[in-house]
């Protein structure tokens, strides 16, 4: 039985329970657009937690979104490890020169103190600020990089693959440090008010790693890490493919999975049935040149293929919408979810007779 109007929290919890809420929940995973709302540069926006709180609250209202995203930028964890973050005017901050340049650097690596590292403290302050504003009405999504995927930024992708294949002992040592940090970082965000943690793990995707390798590495790391996080998690593949490992991902104990637009959403939804809620999978890169009609068509098609029965949150496929995506497209996506996503889904859209 669907209620007439649920809060975002009720809507999301219902779909996570693999039941149909009042409508398909919408997770517009916006970070940089908050700066645009406040008329600030991206660097200035992320310099104060108050900016992020205000930006997220404005975006929530503007797009009738179903979540708040306390995520600042991926290299915030690299910054915490002493690395460089390069801010740009038109895109997400990028990690600079790797912090790990030699094998000895791995042996010497120490875990940042989560509460006393300024860049992490800003994220925690923003999370607390968001919680004060919405209490339990809207889920707040915190973010961690998986211990298995973080080394791409810590040491560079190529050197990390070399390490994984050629230095198993050092790889395990790095995982141990990253795991301890990840657990502490996730739990600090939960304590600050995050409702759930998005565990970004693109290196585990079959785009990057074979299933055989995943089971020996990313899967083990995820099982151990997620078990120590004191709240619900969603694993996100950040555009990577994961259809062949969906059962394995479910076995890590996560509740949801962010999937790629490169995969058939019907097949993904079928494989996830009653095990994982599917988050996705609009193409964020292409989105920047969509018309309003195209946005509506993509949303309608996606809801038709993945919406039935709940267990589905409409979102982009990367976990962060590019700065270049215009407000009109975001508005068209939101309007379309509100129009076509009401349960029971309209006849025709869901393929029902």
């Amino acid at each position: 039985m669907n209620q007439v109007s649920m809060t975002s929290m009720q809507r999301v919890l219902t779909t996570l329970g693999h039941r149909e809420p009042d409508r398909v929940p919408l997770f517009l995973l916006l970070t940089l657009h908050g700066a645009k709302e406040l008329g600030l540069s991206i660097k200035s926006y992320f310099s104060k937690p108050e900016h992020v709180v205000e930006g997220q609250i404005r975006l929530l209202a503007k797009y009738r979104n179903d979540c708040l995203y306390s995520f600042f930028y991926a290299p915030v964890e690299i910054e915490a490890f002493g690395g460089e973050v390069i801010f740009m005017d038109d895109g997400p901050p990028n990690s600079g020169e790797p912090v790990i340049k030699t094998h000895q650097d791995i042996r010497n690596l120490t875990m940042p103190d989560v509460e006393n590292t300024p860049c992490l403290a800003r994220v925690l302050a923003a999370t607390r600020g968001l919680k004060d504003r919405v209490r339990d009405q809207v889920p707040i999504i915190g973010v961690v990089m998986s211990p298995f995927s973080l080394p791409v930024m810590q040491m560079g992708f190529d050197r990390y693959l070399d390490l994984m294949f050629e230095q198993p002992d050092l790889f395990r040592h790095l995982m141990k440090i990253n795991q301890a940090f990840c657990v502490q970082w996730a739990n600090a965000q939960l304590a600050a008010g995050a409702t759930a943690i998005c565990y970004f793990d693109p290196v585990s995707s079959t785009t990057i790693t074979t299933r055989k390798m995943y089971l020996k590495t990313g899967f083990e790391v995820a099982c151990q890490t997620l078990a120590q996080i004191n709240g619900p998690t969603a694993t996100h593949m950040a555009s990577g493919r994961c259809l062949p490992i969906l059962q394995d991902i479910a076995d890590t104990g996560t509740a949801a999975v962010g999937v790629s637009c490169l995969e058939d959403i019907r097949a993904v939804k079928a494989a996830c049935k009653n095990k994982l809620t599917v988050i996705g999978n609009l193409n964020g890169i292409e989105m920047r040149r969509w018309s309003g009609e195209q946005a509506e068509s993509h949303v309608r098609d996606l809801i038709g293929k993945a919406g039935v029965g709940g267990g589905f949150i409409l979102s982009d496929n990367h976990g962060e919408i590019p700065f270049q995506v215009p407000d009109e497209v975001l508005m068209a996506i939101s309007d379309s979810v509100h129009r076509w996503g009401k349960y029971p889904l309209p006849t025709g859209i869901s393929g029902k007779e």
Binding site: D90, N94, L161, I285
Partner: protein, 213 residues
């Protein structure tokens, strides 16, 4: 299965298993009259192309493509050192990342080209102005740009414009994640050729060389 097919299959398995010794064995057991550059052309490149295609259709992983490229680069570098006269007579080429420190894609392109007997300059991570200046100074005629982030991809448009302003006749070959998610992006940024994976680069350059004959 003839001898060459067996060789290709054995080499592919060795690469996918990240088995350097087995890959070397295939190389060492080739026919006596097969010169190193022929091994690169007839065995290494076709296998790397198959592996690249496997990644594109989702059956193989990027880690396999990367390790395969690295093993091949090591083998070919040993047989054909950088200044070896048997290396190809080719256009002046350079590869780079544009304001992006994710260097995996660039490394893979570099490895595949060198494994195929080509030489090229590696500019590493560069900004737009620095890149344009180096291309002009080095008289590069084929520029390969690999990107991971969308903003970097969009900056290629500025590279193209500045090269035109300087009167540099450069073929711009691009590749990387943003182009895989938007099939119109490469044209929108003014590139001449899109390579969807690293091993597409060699046939693209061979075609260019053929056209310029």
């Amino acid at each position: 299965m003839d001898r060459r097919d067996k060789m290709l299959t054995a080499f592919k398995h060795a690469l996918l298993d990240v088995d350097r010794l087995a890959a070397r064995q295939v190389m060492e057991q080739r026919d006596r009259d097969m010169r190193p550059i022929q091994f690169a052309e007839k065995v290494v490149l076709p296998v790397l192309e198959q592996i690249g295609a496997g990644w594109q259709d989702g059956t193989l992983a990027l880690s396999q493509v990367y390790m395969a490229g690295r093993i091949c680069e090591e083998l070919i570098d040993e047989m054909l050192p950088p200044a070896d006269p048997s290396r190809k007579n080719q256009p002046k080429m350079a590869v780079c990342m544009l304001e992006d420190h994710h260097t995996l894609g660039k490394g893979m392109v570099y490895a595949v080209l060198r494994a195929g007997g080509f030489d090229l300059l590696d500019y590493g991570v560069v900004g737009v102005d620095d890149l344009v200046k180096r291309v002009e100074t080095d008289r590069v005629t084929v520029l390969l740009i690999s990107v991971l982030m969308l903003p970097s991809a969009l900056k290629i448009k500025s590279v193209r414009q500045k090269l035109i302003d300087l009167g540099c006749d450069v073929t711009l070959i691009v590749g990387g994640a943003p182009f895989r998610f938007d099939d119109q992006l490469w044209q929108a940024v003014g590139a001449d050729i899109l390579c969807e994976n690293a091993s597409d680069v060699v046939p693209a350059i061979e075609k260019l060389m053929e056209e310029k004959k």
